[in-house]
Amino acid sequence: MKDVLALAKSHVVTALRERVTLFWFLVFPAFLLTILTLIFGQVGQEENVHFSITLINHDHAESSNLPFSATRVIEETLGSLSEARESGAQPLFTLIQPAPGSDGDAFLEQELVQIRRGNRAAVLVLPGGFDEAVLSGILDETDRSGATAKLYMSHTSVASETASSIIEQILAEIDRTILIQTGRFDETQAVAVVTDWIGQEEEETRYVDFVLPGIILMGFFTNGLFGVPGTILFNRDRKVLRRYWVTPLSVGRYLAGFGLGHLSLCVVQFALLFALGKYAFGATIQFTHPLSIIILVLAAITFMAFGFFIAALAKSANAGMAVANILNMPMMFLSGMFFPLVGLPIFMMVIVYANPVIYLLEALRQSVGVQTSTLMPFPWTFIVPLFWIALCSLVTIRRLRWDVAR
C-alpha cells in the first residue's frame, strides 16, 4: 500500500510543480469560467451593457404648437438613459445627435457607415411630421396608421440586435403610455403576462450555475486526455518507468498509484473551480447530492480511461498529444458544454450520441438542479461512459507497452 500512496503523491506533486500542467489544468478552466460568466452572464442584465446609438429627429417640437410631442418624449427618454446611473455604473446608452442646423441626410449616411464599422449599435430616425402622425393616429378614426420611426441596424451584430430590441421596447412603452392616457387603451382590461419555468425552478437559472458543471468536467477532460498520455508516454520513452520495473513494483500497483494520483488531481481541480464559481461569481449549486459525486467520479475515470486509450495507441509522446488535440475539439464542442446542440446534421448527431461527455454533463447538471431534460433516458448516463471505460481498458491492456522496445 505504501508504494501505491507514494506513487500517487509523486504524481500529484509532479503535476503541481510543472508550470505547463498547472496552466492547462487550473488556469485555463478558471479563465474560461471567468470569461464565459462575464460575457454571457450579462445577457439580460442591463446594468452592465452599454450601446452607442444615434437619434435623428427631423420633427422639431419647439417650432410646433401641438399639444403633445411624442418626439420630445422619445428624445428625453433616450437622453435620460444616457446619463450616468446613481450606482456609478455606465449608462445604457451613449446618445449621439446631429448638431442643430446640420444636414440630416448627410449625417445619416455617416451614421450608417458607423453601423457597418461596428461603432454604432443602431440609428433611430424620427421623420418629419412624426408628432402629427402620432396625434392623428390617436384622434383620427379613419386613418389610424400612426407614425413610423425608422430603426437602422445590422442584423449580424448581436449588439445591434439587442440595442434595437431595447429601443423598440422603449418606444412600445411610450406608445402604450400615450394610448392609456388618451383612453385608447384600458390598462385595467389588459391581460397580465407572466413568466414561468418548466421543472421545479422558480426563476431562471443563473448562468454561472449552468456553466460551472461544464467547466469542471472540461477540467477533468483536459486532465485525462492530455495529462495521462503525456505522463505515461513521457515516462516510458525517457525510461523513467524502466527504473520502476527493475524493482518489485508491478504494473498493477503502478496503475493503482497513478490512478489514485490522477483522481486526487481531479479533486484539486474541482475544489478550485468550485471555489472560484462560488466566491467570485456567486454560484449557488451544491455538489452534495450523492448522484453528483458519483457522476464526478465516473467522469474522472472515463476521461482517464480515454487518456490510457490514447497512450496505448500513440507511438510517442508527441503523437499522443496530437491525437489528444484532435479528439479534444469535437468531444468538447459537441457536448453541449458551450453551445446548445440544435440543428446539427446526422453525422454530427452520431458523434453527439456516442460522446460520453454529453451524458455525464447533462446528468451532472440534472443532479445539481440546473437541467430539466436530457438527451437520452437517465440509465444512458452510466451505460455510455461505462462502455467507453471498458473499451479503453481493453485496448490499453492489449496494446499499451510499458517499456520501450529494443
Binding site: K2, D3, L5, A6, L7, S10, V13, T14, R17, E18, N235, R238, K239, V240, R242, R243, Y244, W245, V246, T247, P248, L249, S250, D403, R406
Partner: protein, 307 residues
Amino acid sequence: MTHDFIMKVSHLTKHYGEIIAVDDISFVVPKATVFTVLGPNGAGKTTTMEILEGIREPDGGEIVLFGQPMKRITRAAKQRMGVLLQEGGFEPHLKVREIIQLFASFFENRVSVDAILEQVALTEKAGAQVRTLSGGQRQRMAVGAALVNDPDLIFFDEPTTGLDPQARRNMWDIVSRLKAEGKSIVLTTHYMEEAEALSDSICIMDHGKIIAQGTVRELTGQLGEETLIEFRVDGILENQLSALSACCDNVRQDGGLVTLETKDLPSTMSELLQWSETQGVPFQDLRVRQPNLEDVFLTMTGRTLRE
C-alpha cells in the same frame, strides 16, 4: 542449502525470431565479489543483463538466485536486488529525497533515506529537484535508489559512462565499499581500467556466447608468456609492416600504434631495432609491457572494449 554463490546461471537462452541473442550461457557469481561481464556491442551482454535485471524473459535456461531456482527473475527475488540501469530517467520535478522515498516504498526492507543520502554524498542536495542536478549527482542518486533496500545483489550497468574522472573514482569507491560490506555485484563496463581495478572475476561474451571466464590474471595468462612491445609511428607502409611480421608474432596496428607480441624479448628487441634502421621507420614511445584485459579482449573478439 547455502551456496557460496549468490547467483548461478545455467544454459540461459534468448532469441528474437531467427537471431540468437543469448546462446546457452552459464556462469556463477560468487558471493561478496564483483563479477564483470564484458563484451562488444551486439554480443548479447545487454540482453543478458536485462534478463538478470528482470525486465526481459529468457526463452530457456535456469537461474538459481538467493538459493532459489527460477525460470525468470521473480518479484520476490527483486526484493533483495538493486539495479543501477545503464540509462533511465527520473521524474524531473521530484526532489532527491522524494525519489529515494518513492523507491523505498517499493520494497519491504528499507534503509533510512538519510542513510542513503549520506552513503551517496547527496545530503546537501536532498531538497533539490532532479532537473537541477549534474550528471554525476544524478548518477549518485540512481545508486542511492538502487541501494534503498539494502540489497544482497547489485547490478551496476555501465555505472561510470559519461562521468568525469573524479566522479568515476567516487563510483569505484562505492563499489569497493559495497563489496567490503559483503554484497555481491554484477558489473558491466566499457572501461578496461575499471574492469581491471574492480573485478574479481570476469566473463567475456561475444555473439551470444561466453568465450572466456576467469580472474584478470587467469585471462591475461591465457595469452601465454607473451610480452608486448608497443611503439608509435608517423606512418607505416604495408610492405614495411609485413617485413615486421617476419620477425615477430601477432603484429597489429591501430592508427599510429603498433603492437607486437613476443616470448623472447631480447631477440625480438634487437630484430626490431634492426628493422627500424633498415626500413627507415623511426619510432616513438617505445614501451614494453605485460598483456592486459584489453589485449585479451582484442585477441578473443577482434574488437576493442570500447567499440
